[in-house]
Point group: C2
Chain length 229, copies 2
DNA sequence: TCAAAAGTGTTCGCTATACACCCATGG
DNA sequence: CCATGGGTGTATAGCGAACACTTTTGA
């Protein structure tokens, strides 16, 4: 397997890295793995690795995602290529970075796996390579995306409450919303179904459960509807 | 210079490609070069080429931009990496694509250079590789970006008229605006200065000349202002 | 002289925002 | 029993969308 690969011109190495976002109900979190070898031994890094010659960057990112989370599928989106000449001290390495949104409760490991841990986005450890830069780009992109795409639901369980959804939006956008206005805005969009419509709602204090109606969103998008937040 | 480069593991080749947008006052245009060699000989392609080992992707894209336009600088933004395994029939080639916005009147060649030509975005020739795909991504990104960033001015001369600006927005977004509402919206933002304030404006029919105030935009952005269109 | 281009002003309806009250539960 | 959390309703201001008139120039 360790044959030599010869090219007429120099080629950079290409890796993929995946910024995996989760939400624990309060805080936005990121899954990191601790590096056991040099360079940056002991630092934390996003799951990632060298791209195989027969897979696309997306496939590589999903492969890395599965290795660390067990998830076969997830919402992922490319952030772009990071190509600083000296970003890896060993050789010229270009990384194609992605971010993934996962339901944190579905992720195996994270706690039990010795090498992967969730970190609060406002309390990150020392990161390897240019991963702090990549993280800032990822967070910025996430903020931008959520303005026009209903991607927040990817971070929640299938069934969720309005306060949960609001906490998520507040964590991502780093702002506070008025409870009543937030709820009304989301409900008038018509994209949320009550998960248990027959539930008797005498009084309150136990929040209503909702489910995101992805079919309806697709249908509305077809008709030219543009979600805005 | 044509030594052999040997790696323990296979490495893909990495190129940059640059979708260069211009605006002729009516239509959005893209600068293409005709391929003189196989593969895709006779097809048209975005300016691009192999990334050097001592330059970042941005630097590579700007180098390609300069080679075809003579421009030392321009607004460029990375679209991302395109990594389909078979996108180049010769070997595994990953391209990092960019789009650039240039003032079409400042571009040397385009007409006189034999190999580079401007094409209307709604009348493109047969493109090489996956460049049609890249173009669609570029156009989509441009549409998205102009909603929140005053990047349209990159495509115009320093001094421009309101009808020109409106035609540009309409060309990019592929919609029509009401003349009066468009003008009012842009003017109330406070980001346009009259280029010739002392100009006597008896009657009309000769449009007012404006200039984009980039300093003021930066200042407003600092204060939390978010441009929206 | 008339059509086309450019500037300006008004109205209306919707939506975002600010804000107050009620009810049930758990400590 | 009261503080906390959750659900619902109302008023207002600002912005976006629709729309009409005037002036001038060039054909």
């Amino acid at each position: 397997m360790e044959g030599n690969f010869v090219y007429k011109y120099p080629h950079p190495a290409v890796t993929t890295d995946c910024v995996i976002f989760g939400f624990d109900g309060q805080q936005l979190k990121v899954l990191l793995v601790e590096r056991g070898i040099e360079p940056y031994k002991g630092h934390w890094a996003f799951p990632g690795g060298f791209l195989k010659m027969d897979e696309t960057a997306d496939e590589g990112a999903l492969r890395e995602l599965k290795e660390e989370t067990g998830l076969e599928t997830a919402y992922i989106e490319q952030l772009g290529a990071f190509s600083d000449v000296k970003r890896d001290p060993r050789e010229r390495v270009i990384t194609i970075a992605f971010y993934a949104l996962v339901n944190i409760t579905e992720v195996k490991g994270g706690d039990d796996a010795a090498d992967a841990r969730w970190f609060r986005i406002d309390d990150m450890p020392l990161l390897a390579f240019d991963h702090d830069h990549i993280l800032r780009v990822a967070q910025k992109r996430l903020k931008e995306q959520i303005h026009f795409n209903p991607i927040g639901f990817e971070l929640l369980p299938e069934v969720f409450t309005m306060p949960q959804l609001q906490a998520l939006y507040e964590a991502i956008l780093e702002v506070k919303f008025d409870r009543r206005n937030f709820s009304r805005k989301l409900l008038t969009l018509g994209l949320l179904d009550m998960a248990d419509p027959d539930q008797e709602r005498n009084g309150t204090r136990t929040p209503v459960l909702y489910r995101f109606n992805a079919d309806k969103y697709q249908e509305m998008k077809q008709r030219g509807f543009r979600l805005e937040f």
